[in-house]
């Protein structure tokens, strides 16, 4: 605790004290004691102030940063102090509303545990119990230190040993600067490596394999009449949470007819409770349920003929257990239906699924009929269904339901996301490639995570969770320097304590978070970012409703401390790299300059809200242009012509723009997987008959215990910071936590067998370790499953997080889906005993 205290009470130099803007800096620096805080009025004075509370209040249009949705926010600032955040009413996701996390940004800005300025480590020893002995250094010295290091590496031909790891950000854009050119120009395949394989790559791959779009989906909930939600906690953790709840209010309280909701999860939570039909499933078996639903849809003739096609004679020949001639069916926008039926589906009855999922067969049949006979309908899935060894197969099976009911690109269905009309960046990376960048040794090096490599994960997008073990083994090599932006793999990857945590001890580590963290404890250099209320940053929307939307983060106040926007930090480091790399970054100039250039694209494409340049973008906080351009109507595809979806599309246009598979159709039998057939067969051991179609495969449960161990995200997961926000800690929700403490949900039968009771300390053990948790003995949990939310149990996150909750990743075995690379967070098995 003393070490953490030393970090948090970091001594501030007088110069920095004066730099820190106004009063809040004083509060932070002086340890909050005694000093008079300007801007606060005494009680007697306050009476006068109450007469005109809004005088001098400025509202800044910005965007939230507490989940990937990026809701538009109105930030209220009076006398230079932020005191309230509400949703931006002119922002299509927020519509004036916020989720519970959004409001807490006010707290995060003034978090007493923030880093106050750049620091370097003076204790060479690294470990949980080693005080880093950070000392302040000037920014220029920090930039030089990093650049010198990187220049030396490049001179030695070892630039690939630099890694840049990032969390949030898609297309690496909402970092505020495109980070891809850094690796491209400097010369490292490891700059950047994203966190998507510990996020949700399973769904991305499931969609890529079936409809050719490597992306999350956009959804038209407002027009859907039925949702079948698999392992995506729509009312607690699925994004965009705020808009989901707005849609919920509409679907359930306004819309006629009321939208039918069927929800699948491994414990009773708010989503299941609020739904019409709750299905509490055995972990890892969602795919079996989806296959049985597909079986019922086919045998009962409920599929959408206008999209899927039909038997040539117009009769339904799908009979349980009976094979069919492929020539008997005319397929329209799907490929391989009869092959899938003959090879897999014909025997996947609800009764069979009951034996796998533990859900009653009659419940499965009823749910399948509801889903199959209600149009439009959406089958939606995320991590609960796919963070398993069979994850992509589960995802493909669920996504196939969307094809069967014809909801792809349909009104009330799901589609994909269009990008914004951005202008050119201030510099083009291709113009700054020197000979080293083009032909240096790094061009022949695999990535440290073996993403895209035969020996690793050929089809994955990222493999951040395996960097630690690869580095330790020196295979393919060891990293020299690692820079982290909004990611903390030392804490958030499986078996973290023995892999990433060990690995960073032999890297030069640079962390850029404004807040303390486990990676910061291991850092050699801390270059603290501004918080999201203090910086410029653009964010093209996460897949939402398909129409293009570009949001702008605008500083509400000057940085409270001596911190700098990460984009500017990267530009400063890049500018100090020798050769044309430095020239490129000098030309970028600053994060603000970049967003000013991006905004130039709006001149020719003004947004629906009138945004046409940087100033109007800043004033409104977002640019958007409705609608989504494509729509499938009863098996015919149309393109927007300016007035309506009137322009019929040819099959080749559908293939180019929408169903991007070899066949230009939704593929139950995946050509994308067929191209990697040899590798898949070798890596997965799957049969040549079924490897490229949705099929049931028992998950490879890890850890060796007798109870499933599932670690969900909670509604209060504010990009991880929740664990150190006292207000949020007080609001942990009962379905995945408890008051003041993240608790382990355990069924009463387990508690009584093991001799503990509600509130007792329990020890949860797997083959790789053990953790202590507080038991919440509850009927919300299945008798075969322990539910304990991730994010908690931090050892260097701040004064409130310390020692609160349990660090679930310490007992998770390092195993990933061979296809997607998605870490198998929910496949663990454990034993439990009274501690």
């Amino acid at each position: 605790m003393n070490i953490l205290k030393n970090i948090l009470e970091f001594k501030i130099s007088r110069r920095r004290f004066l730099q820190a803007s106004g009063t809040i800096g004083a509060a932070g620096a002086a340890g909050f004691g005694g000093s008079k805080l300007d801007g606060f009025t005494t009680l007697s004075k306050a009476h006068a102030a109450a007469e005109s509370p809004s005088s001098g209040t400025v509202v800044t249009k910005s965007i939230c940063a507490q989940c990937p949705a990026r809701c538009g926010i109105d930030v209220y600032t009076t006398n230079g102090r932020v005191h309230a955040i509400y949703g931006n009413n002119d922002h299509p996701i927020a519509n004036g509303k916020l989720c519970p996390k959004g409001h807490l940004g006010t707290y995060m800005l003034y978090d007493a545990d923030r880093f106050k300025g750049p620091m370097k480590r003076t204790n060479p020893n690294k470990g949980r119990n080693e005080d880093p002995k950070f000392v302040p250094i000037p920014w220029d010295e920090a930039f030089k230190m990093v650049a010198d290091r990187l220049n030396v590496l490049r001179d030695k031909g070892e630039s690939h040993r630099f890694g840049l790891f990032f969390g949030r950000g898609w297309g690496a854009s909402d970092v505020g600067v495109n980070i891809v050119p850094f690796g491209k120009l400097y010369g490292s395949p490891n700059a950047p490596i994203g966190h998507s394989s510990i996020c949700s790559d399973g769904s991305v791959l499931a969609k890529q394999c079936t409809d050719g779009n490597a992306s999350y989906s956009s959804y038209d909930y407002a027009h859907a009449n039925c949702l079948f939600i698999f392992g995506a906690n729509y009312l607690e953790a699925f994004r965009p949470y705020n808009n989901n709840m707005q849609q919920w209010g509409y679907m359930r309280g306004v819309k006629t007819p009321k939208t039918r909701i069927i929800a699948v999860d491994v414990h009773m939570n708010q989503m299941l409770s609020a739904s019409d039909r709750a299905m509490i499933i055995k972990p890892g078996t969602d795919g079996a349920l989806a296959l049985a639903v597909a079986h019922v849809i086919l045998t009962e003739g409920l599929w959408e003929k206008s999209f899927v096609g039909n038997f040539k004679d117009g009769m339904n020949h799908f009979k349980t257990g009976e094979k069919l001639e492929e020539s008997s069916f005319n397929e329209k926008w799907v490929k391989g239906l009869i092959q899938w039926w003959n090879t897999e589906l014909k025997d996947r009855t609800p009764k069979w699924a009951e034996s796998v999922t533990t859900l009653p067969a009659d419940l499965i049949t009823t749910a399948a009929r509801e889903f199959g006979s209600t149009r439009p309908a959406i089958a939606l899935f995320e991590r609960g269904a796919h963070t398993h060894s069979n994850g992509v197969l589960n995802g493909m099976a669920i996504h196939s339901l969307n094809a069967l009911v014809g909801s792809l690109f349909a009104e009330g269905g799901l589609a994909y996301q269009m990008g914004p009309a951005y202008g050119q960046a201030p510099a083009k990376d291709d113009d700054f490639m020197d000979d080293y960048a083009k032909n240096g040794p790094h061009t022949k090096m695999p990535r440290i995570d073996l993403k895209g490599h035969e020996d690793g994960y050929l089809m994955a997008k990222n493999m951040i969770q395996e960097v630690g073990r690869n580095h330790l083994a020196g295979k393919p090599y060891k990293l020299d320097t690692a820079l982290f932006y909004m990611t903390n793999p030392v804490f958030s990857t499986a078996n973290a304590a023995k892999e990433w945590e060990e690995a960073v001890k032999s890297m030069f580590v640079i962390d850029t978070s404004p807040f303390p963290s486990e990676i910061a404890m291991m850092a050699d250099l801390i270059l603290p970012d501004n918080t999201y209320l203090e910086r410029y940053q653009d964010a093209p929307t996460y897949p939402f409703q398909g129409f293009p939307l570009a949001q702008l983060r605008v500083p509400a106040v000057k940085p409270v401390y001596d911190t700098r926007t990460f984009a500017d930090v990267l530009i400063q480091i890049g500018s100090r790299i020798k050769g044309p790399t430095g020239d490129y970054f000098k030309k970028l100039e600053s994060a603000e300059n970049i967003v000013r250039h991006l905004a130039k694209g709006f001149a020719d494409n003004p947004g629906d809200n009138g945004v046409k340049d940087f100033d109007s973008w800043k004033a409104k906080g977002c640019w958007f242009k409705k609608p989504y351009h494509w729509r499938q109507v009863r098996g015919e595809f149309f393109e927007w012509d300016g007035n309506g979806w009137n322009k019929p599309m040819k099959p080749e246009e559908v293939k180019e723009k929408l169903l991007k598979t070899d066949s230009g159709k939704f593929e139950f039998v995946s050509s994308y997987m067929e191209h990697k057939k040899d590798w898949i067969l070798k890596a997965t051991g799957r049969s040549a008959e079924k490897y490229n179609m949705p099929h049931w495969e028992e998950p490879k449960y890890t850890g060796g215990g007798d109870l499933h161990f599932v670690t969900p995200k909670t509604a209060m997961h504010a990009e991880g910071r929740t664990a150190n926000i006292p207000h949020a800690i007080a609001l942990f929700q009962p379905a995945a936590g408890g008051n003041k403490q993240a608790v382990a949900e355990v069924h009463p039968s387990v508690a009584s067998a093991k001799g503990f009771k509600n509130g007792d300390r329990i020890r949860i053990k797997s083959s790789v370790g053990e953790i202590i948790a507080i038991a919440r003995v509850t009927e919300l949990a299945r008798p075969d499953t322990i539910v304990l939310p991730f994010e908690h149990g931090h050892w260097a996150w701040g004064r409130w997080a310390k020692g609160r909750g349990s660090h679930v990743d310490e007992i998770l075995v390092q195993q990933s889906d061979r296809i997607s690379g998605m870490q198998n967070f929910y496949t663990g098995k454990v034993t439990v005993e009274r501690a």
Binding site: L43, A50, P53, T106, Y107, M268, P726
Partner: protein
């Protein structure tokens, strides 16, 4: 003069607690001392357990028992129907906390729910019990608005610093009304599924009156005679929990 009241549609509430956090930040609440709380209940057994939740603000009763027991008349009802505490008069005897059937009052100097004590991190000056840097600009002790001084009881004010500035005669305060958005209580303004409505119960043409009529709004623990000005909607069907409104009981 309006008689402000709230309607909460339980068919739409997702139990997300954005009402709680919006209020926490707007009204400088201490962690866990939620003017706007959401309570959770579990019943039943696997495989068919039941999880329920109930959003619970101060009911701003027509007949507030908290007010009637207050020895110093610190708790009072405004002429627009809001129950407030004058912190200049409150002696912190907590009698009101015992008298309130809904458990929605808080005493300043309790042991903190979450350690370390946030009040030690952001210590108050003078009378103020603490002093968060994100404190709002309003401090109005006579109406119990702002940061609690030491030794007093506090409660939901329906965001009195906002609603008291609404134009006179307005029927409803809603986030959908751009001109009057700033006068909407924080919890109502932010509610993503729009489960909360706020308006004049005495105006039969207000949206809150229409909702109570259309969906047969009920009040919590109506038998206590406190007559809450917060109504709950649930189910929307004819059969409902029996509840008297405005003196009229049986049909």
């Amino acid at each position: 003069m309006a008689r402000w009241g709230m309607v909460i549609d339980l068919d739409k509430c997702t139990g997300c607690q954005a009402c709680s956090t919006a209020c926490q930040m707007e009204n400088n609440r201490l962690p866990g001392e939620n003017y706007q709380d959401v309570l959770y209940y579990t019943e039943g057994k696997q495989p068919t357990p039941v999880l329920k939740w109930f959003p619970r603000p101060c009911m701003h009763c027509e007949e507030p028992s908290c007010m009637h027991v207050c020895p110093t008349k610190a708790t009072f009802k405004t002429e627009d129907g809001v129950v407030l505490i004058d912190w200049n008069k409150c002696i912190g005897c907590k009698y009101c906390m015992i008298a309130c059937p809904y458990g929605v009052r808080f005493y300043t100097d309790e042991k903190p729910l979450v350690e370390p004590n946030i009040k030690d991190v952001y210590p108050g000056e003078g009378d103020l019990s603490w002093n968060p840097p994100y404190k709002g600009p309003q401090q109005d002790n006579a109406h119990g608005v702002g940061i609690q001084p030491h030794g007093v009881v506090s409660k939901c004010t329906f965001c009195y610093h906002k609603i008291s500035k609404a134009p006179k005669g307005i029927a409803d305060l809603s986030n959908d009304d751009a001109a009057n958005r700033e006068f909407v209580p924080a919890c109502v303004r932010t509610c993503a599924p729009t489960a909360r409505y706020f308006g004049d119960l005495d105006n039969p043409k207000s949206n809150v009156s229409r909702l109570i009529s259309d969906k047969r709004g009920v009040r919590l623990l109506d038998h206590t005679g406190n007559k809450p000005q917060v109504y709950y909607l649930s189910g929307g069907a004819g059969p409902a929990v029996p509840s008297g409104r405005g003196g009229a009981n049986k049909a």
